[in-house]
Symmetry: C2
Subunit: 332 residues, 2 copies
């Protein structure tokens, strides 16, 4: 049995610390050392920022790196812990899941000390870092195959007070979109473990597609806005301009808002993120691959909605998700 | 021995035809039927349009589909053959190369009748479709991991007359960028086989990243502009607006213009496509993954240039390409 998960430095030390969260080895591989930064300025909010939960969503690790650069000059109180890459094995493979065990880190929380490497990462984070924070920002994105606006999201939370505080925290990012996302596959999510402990957990979905310089500036501004709202840093929020508009929308999306491909073939997107669509509007077209005489199939909006995310033009299987719709938030 | 590659219809039939290019089976798999469209309006230019040469570049197959939709109403003369998907096995896998034999279709031309499936596709196209065209547009893109403007490209051609005609044809797309691309890995490209036969071959690189509705409109306009220039359809060219500018640039890029990662780690793009950079400007930053105390490495422009393409924020290996620079065309 290897040693227990631990940090190589003391979170209670004042000032900036850089070290590692050590994830013990197991039957599948040796120990992992995840680089961690902590800045302790005494009393105040206790924030944990994580990125790289999924290995093909690099927006989070890059914003976490930028945060580490400017926090020492900016933070006035409290403690911020930054773990840029939760799952380095998935990041190295540019893969959503961990190649070694095939697991999705964000479905195995709180993890298992005697599990496979993905479960051991979740266990180390749950036991060592989560107790040290009251607020958590886990920085995701929609990955390379979707167009998606920069969003701060939460799932519905049964405790109405925690739900209200979480939505307010998400809105404080001032990103183009704040989203309450109701879906059915939430078991094992980092979010759930944190929220069950009464913590405010915001899952940022920092866009989709390629990670470029202009988008990173928007995401960085959003995270800084949230730190301002927490009182960890001083200054004025900057509301990033997205598609010529500065004001954000707060929307909700439900499982029935996911549009799926009616057949296997090539998906052609016909609308763009944040488009408003009427019932019957064409969202995209599915082209069969094996014939130029078979009809292409229009995929239409089942009701009035706002286009939240739209899949990239690509080959899709039947019933694969190709678009996500949303509407103004009614549940708070 | 299975039958020879063939078309299931006669290209000389007048009007629109839809059928298949049959690629014979071999030791690795059975025969493939690639859907083909042809519209024969008699005398005039003979054009072949192909897409899906690489399986994670779906812009081409989608623009080819759109072309098939509007050509019957628009084409006034000549013959246009459209093969939306050259490599369905790669498209189904969203993979640059063919999973079955690991080959890059665009490096095995003119192919081999007794080779593996990728070589048999190249052989069928080279023997059946290429002789039926004087001009070829092969619709590529930069794929999901690069930001790249919509471009019509050619490699340098030793015959100066063919070079001049090819650059003029590429410029006729009126895309944001026309590019003469000098690189060292051209053996087995579709381009070379066609150009060696004196044909005008334009390789379109229809952007990079996700395939969205707005970008597809630009690419479609570019292909229509080229058909107008050939005299195959009537009408006025539409110059698509890209980043608030309508006029295109004609640039060249050389092997030394590819900037490579100085180490393994996470690449952060710091500039955008078509940015003009001075010598020493930061193009991107390479962050080591295994430490927060190791210095991140700035990747700088070695000379004044225009940013042609920039890699998405992602994990990269040492010496992996992360940016492509270019400058105004001097070789014509």
């Amino acid at each position: 049995m290897s040693e227990a998960p631990h940090l190589t430095f003391d979170l209670d030390s004042r000032g900036a610390s850089r070290g590692y969260l050590v994830v013990p080895g197991g039957i599948d591989r040796g120990e992992l050392s995840l680089p961690v930064f902590s800045l302790n300025e005494g009393e105040g909010p206790r924030l944990l920022v994580t990125g790289g939960n999924h290995g093909n969503e690099l927006e989070g690790p890059l914003i976490a790196r930028r945060l580490i650069d400017w926090l020492p000059e900016a933070q006035t109180c409290g403690r911020v812990i930054v773990l840029p890459v939760l799952n380095p094995l998935a990041v190295q493979a540019w893969s959503r899941n961990t190649p070694l065990d095939g697991l999705n880190l964000n479905r195995v929380f709180p993890g298992r000390a005697d599990g496979s490497v993905t479960e051991r990462i979740a266990d180390a984070v749950s036991r060592i870092l989560l107790p040290a924070a009251d607020t958590i920002f886990d920085l995701h994105s929609f990955g390379p195959t979707w167009n998606f606006p920069a969003a701060a999201t939460t799932h519905p939370i049964s405790d109405p007070d925690l739900m209200a505080r979480t939505v307010r925290m998400a809105e404080a990012f001032q990103l183009p979109l704040t989203l309450v996302w109701q879906h059915n596959e939430t078991a094992g999510m980092f979010d759930m473990v944190a929220q069950n402990q009464g913590k405010v957990f915001v899952c940022a979905e920092l866009g989709g597609g390629t990670v470029g310089a202009n988008s990173l500036a928007i995401y960085e501004a959003g995270v800084r806005n949230a730190l301002l709202a927490l009182g960890l840093v001083d200054g004025e929020p900057e509301y990033p301009t997205y598609r010529q508009q500065k004001s954000g929308k707060t929307l909700e999306t439900r499982p029935s808002d996911e549009l799926k491909s009616p057949a296997t073939g090539i998906f052609e997107p016909r609308c763009s993120v944040l488009d408003e669509v009427k019932r019957g509007d064409i969202i995209g077209v599915l082209h069969p691959m094996n014939s130029l005489t078979a009809e292409s199939i229009n995929i239409r909006a089942p009701e009035p909605a706002i286009v939240l995310g739209i899949g990239s033009g690509a080959h899709v299987e039947i019933n694969e998700g190709v678009a996500l719709l949303a509407r103004p938030l009614t549940i708070r």
